[in-house]
C-alpha cells in the first residue's frame, strides 16, 4: 500500500462545485479510471480519498491536492493522464507525488483576489481598499460552527496584504491562516466593504499556495 498526493487545479465552471460534490466527482473519476486504489472496507464500500485543505465554493485553486492510497504499483504519469481523461475540463491534474508533509501541517494559504465593483470606479475602489486595510481594526461578523456569529478583528490577518491597481480593477494579495486550527476566509474582507462602505464588491478569489507554520511550501 502506498500513499500518493494528487495535485490539481480547479477553475472555470468547476469553481462552482462544492467540496462535497468535488469529493463525489473525484470518486467517480477514480472509479472510471480503474486506477488500483484502496477502497474503504465499511458497510458502504467506496474508493478512499481525502483532501488536505478543502477549497471554498467559487474560489479558483492553483495548487489543490487530494490524497489517495494505491494497492499496487502504478505509474504516476498514468495516474495523471487517466484522471484527466475522466474529469471535467475545469479540474486538471498536473502532478502526482509522494506526500512529504502531513495534511495537518498546513497552516497558511496565499490568495490573489481580483476586486471589482459596479457602483464605483476602479480608482475609487483602489482608494477605498487601501483606506480599509490601513484602519486600526477591521471588525466583521464571523460565523463559527460552535459559537454561532461572533465579531472578530481581521486587521491582524490582513496586515501584510499588498494592493495593486491594474487595468481591470484592483488586485490584492494576502496570506491567511488556513488548516485545521484557524481558518480565515478572504471573503471576510468583502463583508468589511459592505459594512464600512455599504458597497457590493465582487471578489474573484484564487488560492495560490499552501504553507506550513514556518512558511515552507506544503508538499
Amino acid at each position: 500500500m502506498k500513499d500518493v498526493r494528487v495535485w490539481f487545479t480547479k477553475d472555470d465552471e468547476c469553481r462552482f462545485i462544492s467540496h462535497l460534490d468535488l469529493n463525489r466527482c473525484m470518486l467517480r473519476a477514480l472509479h472510471k479510471s480503474r486506477i488500483p486504489i484502496w477502497h474503504t472496507e465499511g458497510f458502504n464500500v467506496h474508493p478512499y480519498a481525502t483532501f488536505p485543505l478543502p477549497l471554498s465554493l467559487g474560489f479558483r485553486g492553483e495548487k489543490e491536492c487530494m490524497d489517495i492510497r494505491l494497492v499496487e504499483d502504478y505509474s504516476y504519469s498514468d495516474i495523471k493522464d487517466k484522471l484527466n481523461s475522466c474529469l471535467p475540463t475545469g479540474i486538471r491534474v498536473y502532478d502526482v507525488r509522494e506526500p512529504v508533509m502531513k495534511a495537518k501541517e498546513i497552516a497558511f494559504a496565499s490568495f490573489k483576489i481580483k476586486l471589482s465593483c459596479e457602483d464605483i470606479s476602479a480608482d475609487e475602489l483602489f482608494k477605498l481598499t487601501n483606506e480599509l486595510l490601513s484602519k486600526d481594526e477591521i471588525l466583521v461578523d464571523k460565523k463559527t460552527k460552535k459559537k454561532g456569529v461572533r465579531e472578530i478583528d481581521i486587521k491582524p490577518y490582513f496586515s501584510d496584504t499588498k494592493t495593486e491597481r491594474n487595468i481591470g480593477g484592483v488586485i490584492i494579495r494576502c496570506t491567511l491562516p488556513a488548516g485545521s486550527v484557524t481558518n480565515i476566509n478572504p471573503l471576510l474582507l468583502q463583508k468589511a466593504f459592505e459594512k464600512y462602505y455599504d458597497i457590493d464588491v465582487y471578489f474573484d478569489v484564487t488560492k495560490k499556495e499552501l504553507f506550513d507554520k514556518k512558511m515552507k511550501a506544503f508538499e
Binding site: 465552471e13 467517480r28 467559487g58 475522466c86 471535467p88
Partner: protein, 614 residues
C-alpha cells in the same frame, strides 16, 4: 461556459453548480459551424431535468448531427430568477452560456401538467414572445413533446409544433426541414405547413375549434391540408434504435445520479388508471445483448458505479434472470451495482433478489393502488392480497422491517369501505411481520401508506370520469386516517389541491390558454413545488377569465362527446378504451398482453409483444 453577467451573481444563489455547465461529456461546438441551435428546455430545476432519460437520449442524438448544436436549459430556481430579472440577464443555455433568445429551436419536454407555468415563464425569461402568433419570423420555433403532449390543447396558443409519440425520428425530420426552409428563405407559415405533413407532427395553428353552447367541442377542423388524425411516432426495433453511449455527468448531486438503460418501452399490464401503459403500447423489448452492451459502455464512459434498468414494470422483462446474470458477469468485479426500480408486488422473486444484492435495506416500496380486491379489479391492477402477503413475508424474512405501500384515493366506484380497506391491508402486512419466523430480532415493523389523489388522464379507460371534488378527497383522507389504529402504520397523503389543477390541465381544451397566459403575466412558476403553488391564486384567474375549472376536472363526460385530444392517435382505439371502461364498472379484469390479446389496436404497428410467440 459561464457568461460574465452570470458569473457575478453565482455566489449569491443556492447551488450555483446548477447554472454553469462544464460537466464531463457535455458537448461544446463552434456556433459558427452549425446551422441549427437547439435549446432543449426542461421546465424544472437542473437536478430534476438532468435525471430525465428522454433528455439524455435526444441531447446525444441531436449532437451526433454535425449541423445541430443542442444545449441544455433548465428553469432557474427562485433566487436565481430574481437576480436574473433584476439584472436583465436573459435565460441562457449551459453549454455556451449564450442567451437562448435567438436560437433556432426552443424545445420543451412536457412531463407533468403543473410544469406548464414554467414553460411559459422560461419563454418570458428568454425574452421570447409567449404566443406563437407573436413570433412571426422563421427562428426560435417553439416545439414540445413528451407524455403531456398527448393533450396539447391547453398549450395550443404558445407552441408552434408538438411532437406526438417518441421523438427519435420525427424531431430530426423537422429540424432538417427547418434547415432547408431557412436555406430557401421560406416563411415561418410555409415551414409550419410543410412540417404538418410529417407524420407525428401537430401544428395547432392549422386547426380551428368550434364549441357547443355547453362548452364542449362542436368541431375540430384542419386547414391547409393538415391531417385530420395525427398518428404517434414510435421506434419498433429497440435493438437498432439510437441509444447514447455517453451521459453528461453532473458535477452536483441530482435526483437520479446513475447510468440508466431502458430495457423495454410500454407495459403489458393495462392498469386502467395508467396513462403511460396506453400511450407507449405495444411493449417493445431490447435484447439482453443490447442492454448488456449499453450498460457496460455507459458505466465505462461516465464512471458511474450504479446502473438502473428502467421500464414501466421491470420484472415483466421476458428474460429478467438471464439479463441480471449477464450483467453480473462484469458488474460485480467492476464494483457496479444494479438497481431495478418499478418492481411489481408479484414480480419480487427470490431469484431476482439474489441477483440484486445491493438493494438497499432502507425500504421496499410496492403499489397495490387500491385497498380492496374489488377496487383493484376495477382498475385492472391484478394484484392479489396473498401475493402481497407472500412478498412482504419474503422481505421480512430477509431482514427488511420497513415497507411502503402506495395507493390512490378517488378511483372510480370507490366507496368508504374501499378506503378503509387500505388501512386493513396495511394492518395485515403488520400482522404478517409478526408471523415471520426469520424476522429481524428485537425490531419493530413500520408500514408507510402513501395516498395520491386519482387524476383521470386522456387515453385511459377513465378519460370520461369526473374526478372526486376536493372536499370528498379530503374527507376520504381523514376517514382513512381515523381507520388506522396502530402506530406501526404511518400515513402520508398528497395534497388534493395540486391533483385538482393537474386534472384541469390534463383534460383541458384551448380555452385554458387564456388561463396560462394570465398566469404567466402574473409571474406564476414552479407550481409543482409547494414553495410556489397556491390553488387560490389559480382559482382567481379562472374567475377573472370566467372559466369554470370544474367543467374540466369534475364533470363526467359522455362517450359521444368530442374530447379535446380525439384527433390524436396513439394506436389504442377509443372503442377499446370504452370497452375497458365498461368492464371496469362491472368489476371485471382484462388479462395482460402476454396472456391474451385484447385487441387494443396497437398490433397494427406490426411488432413488439403483439407478435411474440406464446
Amino acid at each position: 461556459m459561464i457568461n460574465k453577467d452570470v458569473e457575478k451573481i453565482l455566489l449569491k444563489v443556492q447551488k450555483p453548480g446548477r447554472y454553469v455547465g462544464g460537466e464531463l461529456n457535455s458537448v461544446i461546438k463552434n456556433k459558427d459551424e452549425v446551422d441549427v441551435r437547439f435549446a432543449f428546455c426542461f421546465p424544472d430545476t437542473y437536478e430534476i431535468g438532468m435525471s430525465h432519460l428522454g433528455m439524455k437520449i435526444l441531447y446525444s442524438l441531436f449532437n451526433e448531427v454535425p449541423y445541430i448544436w443542442c444545449e441544455r436549459v433548465f428553469a432557474p430556481w427562485l433566487d436565481m430568477e430574481e437576480l436574473m430579472v433584476e439584472r436583465n440577464i436573459p435565460l441562457f443555455a449551459l453549454e455556451s452560456g449564450d442567451s437562448i433568445t435567438d436560437f433556432d429551436f426552443i424545445g420543451f419536454t412536457l412531463q407533468y401538467e403543473l410544469s406548464f407555468s414554467n414553460v411559459l415563464n422560461m419563454l418570458r425569461l428568454a425574452n421570447i414572445p409567449i404566443k406563437s402568433c407573436d413570433r412571426k419570423e422563421l427562428s426560435r420555433i417553439v416545439v414540445a413533446g413528451g407524455p403531456c403532449a398527448c393533450n396539447p390543447e391547453p398549450l395550443a396558443d404558445f407552441i408552434d409544433i408538438f411532437f406526438i409519440g417518441e421523438g427519435e425520428e420525427v424531431d430530426l425530420e423537422v429540424i432538417e426541414l427547418y434547415r432547408q426552409c431557412k436555406k430557401d428563405n421560406k416563411s415561418k407559415d410555409e415551414f409550419l405547413r410543410l412540417a404538418s405533413q410529417i407524420k407525428g407532427v401537430y401544428v395547432p395553428a392549422l386547426y380551428d375549434v368550434e364549441y357547443n353552447d355547453d362548452g364542449t367541442i362542436k368541431s375540430f377542423t384542419p386547414r391547409d391540408n393538415a391531417p385530420e388524425k395525427i398518428e404517434k411516432r414510435l421506434m419498433m426495433d429497440m435493438d437498432n434504435s439510437y441509444y447514447p453511449e455517453n451521459f453528461v455527468v453532473p458535477n452536483i448531486e441530482i435526483v437520479h445520479d446513475r447510468a440508466v438503460s431502458e430495457i423495454f418501452r410500454g407495459c403489458i399490464r393495462g392498469c386502467r388508471f395508467c396513462q403511460a401503459g396506453f400511450l407507449y403500447r405495444p411493449v417493445r423489448e431490447k435484447s439482453v445483448e443490447t442492454i448488456n452492451k449499453q450498460c457496460h459502455t455507459l458505466c465505462n464512459n461516465t464512471g458511474y458505479d450504479e446502473v438502473s434498468l428502467s421500464s414501466l414494470s421491470s420484472s415483466d422483462y421476458t428474460d429478467i434472470i438471464g439479463l441480471l446474470t449477464t450483467l453480473n458477469t462484469w458488474a460485480d468485479s467492476e464494483k457496479v451495482s444494479i438497481s431495478l426500480p418499478s418492481l411489481r408486488v408479484d414480480g419480487f422473486s427470490d431469484d431476482i433478489l439474489e441477483k440484486i444484492k445491493t438493494v438497499r435495506k432502507s425500504g421496499l416500496t410496492f403499489a397495490p393502488e387500491a385497498g380492496t380486491q374489488r377496487l383493484r379489479d376495477v382498475i385492472n391492477k391484478n394484484v392479489l392480497e396473498p401475493e402481497l402477503m407472500e412478498t412482504c413475508s419474503k422481505a421480512f424474512n430477509s431482514g427488511w422491517t420497513k415497507v411502503k405501500l402506495y395507493f390512490m384515493i378517488g378511483l372510480p366506484t370507490e366507496t368508504y369501505e374501499d378506503v378503509e380497506g387500505i388501512a386493513h391491508l396495511a394492518q395485515k402486512v403488520v400482522n404478517e411481520y409478526y408471523h415471520c419466523e426469520n424476522k429481524p430480532k428485537g425490531k419493530s415493523v413500520t408500514v408507510t401508506i402513501s395516498t395520491a389523489s386519482f387524476v383521470p388522464k386522456p387515453f385511459t379507460p377513465f378519460q370520461w370520469y369526473g374526478q372526486n371534488n376536493r372536499e370528498t378527497l379530503m374527507d376520504k383522507q381523514l376517514h382513512l386516517k381515523d381507520t388506522i389504529t396502530t402506530k406501526k402504520i404511518n400515513y402520508n397523503y398528497h395534497d388534493a389541491d395540486t391533483s385538482f389543477l393537474e386534472a384541469v390541465f390534463a383534460r383541458g381544451d384551448r380555452k385554458l390558454c387564456r388561463i396560462l397566459e394570465k398566469a404567466c403575466e402574473k409571474g406564476f412558476h414552479f407550481d409543482g413545488w409547494s414553495d410556489c403553488f397556491s390553488l387560490d391564486s389559480w382559482l382567481e384567474i379562472f374567475d377573472e377569465c370566467g372559466i369554470d375549472p370544474d367543467f374540466y376536472a369534475l364533470r363526467d363526460r359522455d362517450y359521444d362527446e368530442i374530447l379535446p385530444w380525439d384527433f390524436l392517435d396513439y394506436g389504442v382505439t377509443k372503442d377499446f378504451l370504452r370497452k375497458e371502461c365498461e368492464k371496469a364498472y362491472k368489476d371485471t379484469t382484462t388479462p395482460h398482453c402476454r396472456l391474451k390479446c385484447s385487441n387494443c389496436g396497437a398490433n397494427r404497428y406490426g411488432g413488439g409483444v403483439c407478435f411474440e410467440r406464446r
